[in-house]
């Protein structure tokens, strides 16, 4: 897709945020065509460059940093240096979007809080991400994914009789979605009215939004209907693996198991949960996929990530792309990485860009009058 055809072409985003939700929100905007410039501290850059996720590295940055920061630019600025801070403010005055996830008070001390930034640039869309909101008793608590999952109730929903966390940064991931959506919606209003605005969201709000139906049931103390005949979401062991069965009418499932029984008559009462489990254990996953699928019971095999990657279905969805980082020194080797792309297709095309995550300060340091916005952004594919 031509760069000018991308939905957010021409939008300039300054990203002050660190691992994880802010950079991923900025990535979503970059994938849709925005020009994203990371503003990082000298020497170490944002914490995501070195915070090892499963301990993996590529070319001096973590693999997770690469996955979250492809297709961006990077400048270095010491926000404690008055001259460099002034240059940052000059960028803010000309940008469309600012993203940060500093703790309360940091942007105020820098003179880059919403009101101050709005004075510099009335058209600025200002996005602030936090753990638990800007006010309230939790405002100063560490906004960390596991902690947000833990206080939100989700670990009990997930595990049933014992608490289980989702083994991924789910709260951060959801926050990245809501940040990107809020920014994009305010860009719509900016085009309509010329005005910028403030979007705020947090880990906790994203976790509560995820549990909206459960919360609504709890808040209204509505009782379950005893006539409910859907089976729960269930994963069953089979003779050679696992089978996932989507919610279905229990009598349909029982009839299908009776008709296709692969085991001796069961000891327990027909139709009990243990009877269902015993039936399914008596044949392989492929058998059940076929015979249950034939009668319209929706089911699927359980795949590991590596099994999925090896499948033709994975190739068909075109979810990967190769990004390239030029060598640090002339004559060196480029780094090539295979990573994912945006989950969104626009006008029938997947959104791909070959640019890898930038080295720290790839677009220079903000001193001596350096001005990344004086140059056109890199040409997209």
């Amino acid at each position: 897709m031509q760069a000018a055809e991308l939905p957010l072409a021409g939008v300039v985003v300054l990203d002050f945020s660190q691992f994880l939700a802010g950079p991923v929100a900025a990535l979503r905007l970059a994938d849709l065509g925005a020009r994203v410039i990371k503003i990082e501290r000298p020497v170490t850059g944002e914490i995501g460059r070195t915070l090892a996720f499963a301990g993996r590295w590529a070319d001096e940055d973590t693999v997770s940093f690469h996955a979250m920061n492809r297709n961006k630019e990077a400048v270095v600025a010491d926000l404690k240096d008055p001259g460099e801070l002034e240059q940052v403010k000059s960028l803010v005055a000309r940008a469309d979007v600012l993203i940060h996830n500093f703790r309360p008070g940091v942007m105020e001390r820098l003179g880059l809080d919403y009101e101050s930034a709005r004075a510099l640039n009335p058209g600025l869309v200002y996005a602030a991400a936090s753990g638990y909101g800007a006010d309230g008793p939790w405002a100063s608590r560490p906004g960390q994914d596991l902690l947000a999952q833990s206080v939100s109730g989700l670990t009990w929903v997930n595990g049933g009789d014992r608490p289980v966390t989702v083994g991924l940064s789910l709260a951060d991931h959801l926050l990245s979605c809501h940040l990107a959506e809020g920014v994009t919606a305010l860009l719509v209003r900016k085009l309509r009215t010329g005005r910028g605005g403030l979007i705020e969201t947090s880990l906790l709000e994203g976790m509560l939004d995820l549990q909206s139906t459960l919360l609504t049931a709890h808040l209204n103390k509505s009782a379950p209907d005893p006539a409910d005949t859907l089976t729960p979401h269930s994963l069953y062991p089979t003779a050679d693996g696992y089978l996932a069965i989507a919610p279905t009418r229990r009598d349909n499932l029982i009839q299908a198991l009776v008709n296709n029984s692969a085991s001796a008559p069961a000891a327990g009462p027909a139709g009990s949960e243990s009877w269902v489990a015993e039936q399914l254990l008596a044949a392989g996953t492929a058998y059940w996929l076929e015979v249950l699928g034939e009668v319209g019971i929706e089911c699927a095999p359980l795949r590991t990530l590596d099994e999925l990657i090896a499948s033709p279905e994975f190739a068909a969805i075109e979810m990967t792309q190769t990004v390239e980082r030029p060598p640090a020194e002339p004559g060196g080797e480029s780094l090539r990485l295979t990573t994912t792309r945006s989950p969104i297709r626009i006008d029938g095309k997947v959104l791909r860009n070959h640019r890898a995550a930038p080295r720290l300060g790839a677009q220079g340091r903000l001193h001596n009058g350096a001005d990344p916005l004086a140059e056109a952004g890199p040409v997209d594919e």
Copy 2:
């Protein structure tokens, strides 16, 4: 917030989709100010009205339907009736956004596929949600949340040594976010160029996006760094509950446990995982929150949803709102429900609206020249 100030004020969305991702995507747009009109089949309406989630009901619709469909309008149309289909096409010709999640072929047969709809309305933003994309070997498979989780590899990531599903419709929820983001980004392009466009995404793409870092590590076969010294995400039993400890340097954690030991000298080697667990089991959650928090180790209590709801922190985040559905007959009683709000704050304000989910056909049936767009939408709060 005044309705005209909402970011998507003036945007008209026609939603043909059914439970779950499409209606939730439309809800996100409604929360941001769009006018959403559900187009439903006669008699039963969309399947979400009757598909019981935990079997709960309120005023003839499920609680989950209420949670997902507040702040919308609803018209009924029989798409198999040529006259009513023509009236639907007349709405499509004047709308800004169309959302559907029909299986491949359905919209083509109705003459409402993207190319046909674009011919009616070149400015239309057309959003199509699916299970596994429009093409490929899985295109015709049932797009269902548990199945998408199961084939995506997530159940193994989540459970570790045994597969565990996330006990919520996570794949659908993520799809709703990506649908809303793609639509909103195309509204930006529409304002800039006048042109509409097509946004497509799927359950599987959302699940892969969630696992982007893991996928990138697998795809590049990068090895873990043995020097990795962060503790994993962990939930530990304490004397009176559970404690969540965010990733932290293991030597810091061990030192803090030694300094604040509440147990007799442990049997196992100091610093082993079982030693850590034994230390934590010897005192209550509140004790560990205090002493570990003092030395900067981020931790949190595990709360159930009901414990969270009862907390002052839950009140502080203002995540709830009350919606009201007028009585079906004059003199009847209104239904009042407490539910969640958008996780996004705009210009410092939470987004609230008192309108409950509409009854089936609340805005009438599309025959005899009925035209919901001839009337202004309801006035928002």
